[in-house]
Symmetry: D2
Subunit: 92 residues, 4 copies
């Protein structure tokens, strides 16, 4: 994944936020706050993990399969753009 610095920074920001959420869940369990509140924290974490997954799949498609923005074969470019849309829909 030797992609742009900008993209790497963005992905690192996402995983660090998820790590921070895991730490919040850990503190909540230690403090014995209600299960329902812990479950809501875990639900946010799951949403953030889906967001990271969609971003990583898009990166993979663009950099290791077909980049719809620079692909000269227009059929493949369209196929890759549609695939990115599908991935986003499934993981949103």
């Amino acid at each position: 994944m030797s992609h742009t610095i900008e993209h790497k920074t963005k992905l690192l920001g996402r995983i660090r936020r998820i790590k921070g959420q895991a730490e919040a869940v850990e503190r909540a369990l230690e403090a014995e706050i209600g299960c329902a509140d812990v479950l809501m924290l875990v639900a946010s974490m799951r949403g953030a993990l889906n967001g990271l997954t969609a971003e990583l799949m898009e990166e993979h498609i663009r950099h290791h399969v077909v980049n719809p923005d620079s692909e000269p074969d227009s059929e493949r470019a369209r196929g890759a753009a549609e695939l990115i849309d599908v991935v986003r829909t499934y993981l949103k």
Copy 2:
């Protein structure tokens, strides 16, 4: 969640493993290993988060709604046991 010490320890073990997995993803992104490998790490993390969610929901049902093992009303006991099974099936 003032449950048993044993249970608290188990839940803390789960979230600490998930935090460790988040750190592994962070290191993988920093080291620029392949997207596909990072995605497999993220998939394991998602599985572990589902496991924690199922455990927390079961805890919540047992301690804040109806505990099938100690409930005198047998209909409610069965309803709660079935609900725990359903939650496990959906999150496995």
Copy 3:
């Protein structure tokens, strides 16, 4: 599930819509429309199935475990109401 007629009608409406979506996917596959369009139909179906699941779990909690609107034990009533919220959050 000997619940209200109103509720049964609502649940039947949901599953019949999902069956209709399955028929639309079948026709799309027969007509050989693009994979990406079929995948979008399947994504809507998945959303509708999650909606039905949340509704059925809420029904189960209310009628076979604890109904937060009629439970005299206020702790249990709160626990069941929180559980319904959690289920909705996870399946929305």
Copy 4:
């Protein structure tokens, strides 16, 4: 999706089974069998829908983006093969 006849038949078989499962859920709701049993039927349906989704995504990648079995560019072939593995892992 002008793919092989064999593949079309396989995909049609999958969606027809899912339609059959929807009909079983409809009959179960009409017969007022227990919520928990209906939820288990719905869980199987969700599994079958994930299987169909994985199959359709693989089809899309192979026929509209890059087919790892016939792609001359070995980097792209590997990227597409990895992507198919990732999709299967996420939807299994």
